[in-house]
């Protein structure tokens, strides 16, 4: 059986078809954000290239965010439609978990970070010594300076000597993090810096084994931020 994994929460759009121990097909693009045009054709190609039909699929998987509001909704709406038509369950995985899963069985502390614009990052930290990442901090949207402080605190608390930064948030604030994390920072190669649908599929198998599944009705996006209008209303600004 296979999992069909779909991610369009950031500038990356990716689709993967993976068995428990085998990636069968993966399409990945990190270019313009024209996800609504390219995502479903990608799914179609991945299914066709793998000669896969729906009866071979055990579950669907989707990144729930954080990420671009519109991008993550395109992925989620797509998976909701597929799920409703096929009756397949959905493994809903945070984009930061998927990013963190690019580093496996390392003693280094992994910080997953997405550029949230407005001088902020979506951020969390992970222990990746086991096969699957374990989240050490609640996900949040915060200034890179706060993320930097929290990483340093975790280094102090856990005695880790190495930090790996993943995601386009780390790229955007590269100079800043190089400055403050100095000798702890381990550079990695670009192919692990962005969310990968194959990593999403791997986490989805874990969710499937644990029975942590959603369906078309229940799956929900994670925004980590109010809409601008709600934020203003809350602050009493008009």
């Amino acid at each position: 059986m296979l999992i069909l994994a779909v991610d369009s929460a950031t500038q990356v759009a990716g689709v993967a078809l993976a068995g428990r121990d085998r990636v069968v097909c993966e399409e990945f693009v990190n270019f313009k954000r024209n996800h609504s045009e390219i995502l479903l054709p990608k799914i179609d190609r991945v299914m066709k290239d793998s000669q896969c039909d729906w009866s071979q699929i055990a579950a669907l998987a989707v990144t729930t965010g954080p990420g671009s509001f519109t991008g993550l909704r395109i992925g989620m709406a797509t998976v909701k439609g597929l799920s409703l038509a096929t009756g397949l369950p959905i493994a809903a995985i945070s984009t930061l978990d998927v990013l963190a899963h690019n580093v496996v069985r390392s003693p280094a502390l992994v910080a997953a970070m997405l550029d949230a614009r407005r001088e902020e990052v979506y951020f969390s930290c992970y222990d990746v010594q086991d096969r699957f990442p374990r989240m050490l901090l609640p996900m949040k949207a915060c200034p890179p300076q706060q993320a930097g402080r929290e990483i340093l605190d975790l280094i102090g608390a856990t005695g880790r000597e190495q930090v790996i930064l993943l995601g386009d948030g780390a790229t955007s604030y590269h100079d800043y993090f190089t400055d403050i994390l100095g000798q702890y920072l381990i550079p990695v190669s670009p192919h692990v810096m962005l969310p990968r649908a194959a990593a999403l599929a791997s986490l989805a198998w874990e969710a499937l084994d644990k029975g942590q599944l959603d369906n078309s009705l229940t799956v929900k996006p994670i925004y980590l931020r109010l809409s601008e209008a709600e934020y203003r209303l809350q602050k009493g600004v008009s």
């Binding site: 989620m76 038509a85 209008a229």
Partner: protein, 336 residues
Amino acid sequence: MNDINILGIETSCDETAAAIVKNGQEILSNIVQSQISLHQKFGGVVPEVASRKHIETITAVTQEAFARAALTYQDIDAVAVTHRPGLIGALLVGLSFAKSLAYALGKPIIAVNHLHGHIYANFLENPGIAFPCVCLVVSGGHTSLLYMPSHHEYHLIGETRDDAAGEAFDKVARFLGLAYPGGPSVEKAALQGQPGLYKLPRIFLDRDDFEFSFSGLKTAVMNLWRKLEKSGEADVNNMAAEFQAALVEVLAEKTLHAAKKFQVKTVLLAGGVAANSLLRSTIAEKAQVQGMQVFYPSLSLCTDNAAMIAGRAYVQYMRRDFAGLDLNAYPGLLSL
């Protein structure tokens, strides 16, 4: 020939809607989840808030459409979806959902222009409407006049240069302290008041074209209201009545003028503002004098719904006018 059942999905603004229509005529189900209460506290539709609500409710609304129609997913012949115009983030929720649903069911996708949907609402209830027609589409997002020689041809002959008519209703309602949405609340207040006691301009009425402008009317309301408040004569109901009369007069005159110029015998009204009873009766009276027939959808089909999308899609289905998996959404009215 077999019956053709089409599922329609509509998320272009603040209604999450799904409907199933048989043969472009028979509404088997028509589910509309309105977000009005959600946007009320902002005084208008907030795009990001709308998109968030759409993704939350799209599945339930679609399931409900199938349940009410007593059909299974395989019983439909195509999935139709609004792909323009509208709020881009909102459109993309319905579009992405509809495309993947159709794909996994192995059914064709039909891309429907929201305005064509509004106009088609008339054909849902009156299949025998004779072409050519002139159509006035008036809503919170649009004020457009179209010349329609057949089911497949739409020529835009004029539209608003600034605010849409529904937008003008909303803005004036907000200014006068009336509830959102402004269309129904202004109409209700106007019933208690009298037009003509205050004098508002009929903008562009004297010009020989089909363009509209409502932002000047809105400003005139504000200026006059402030004066009246100073002299202690301000009456909300009379102001609502005069505003509605001014707006309706312009819409009606331009529409009838277009009908005469294009020598049509049929006038169609469509869109949320077509629910306004003064607009309906004014155009109907004027058209009767000219020997023209006027159609407007029943109230529930005037405002945004997916039955009009599924209905319109039937015309496209018969011509095998299907979209690809790469179908995208667009905010603008392009390619009428």
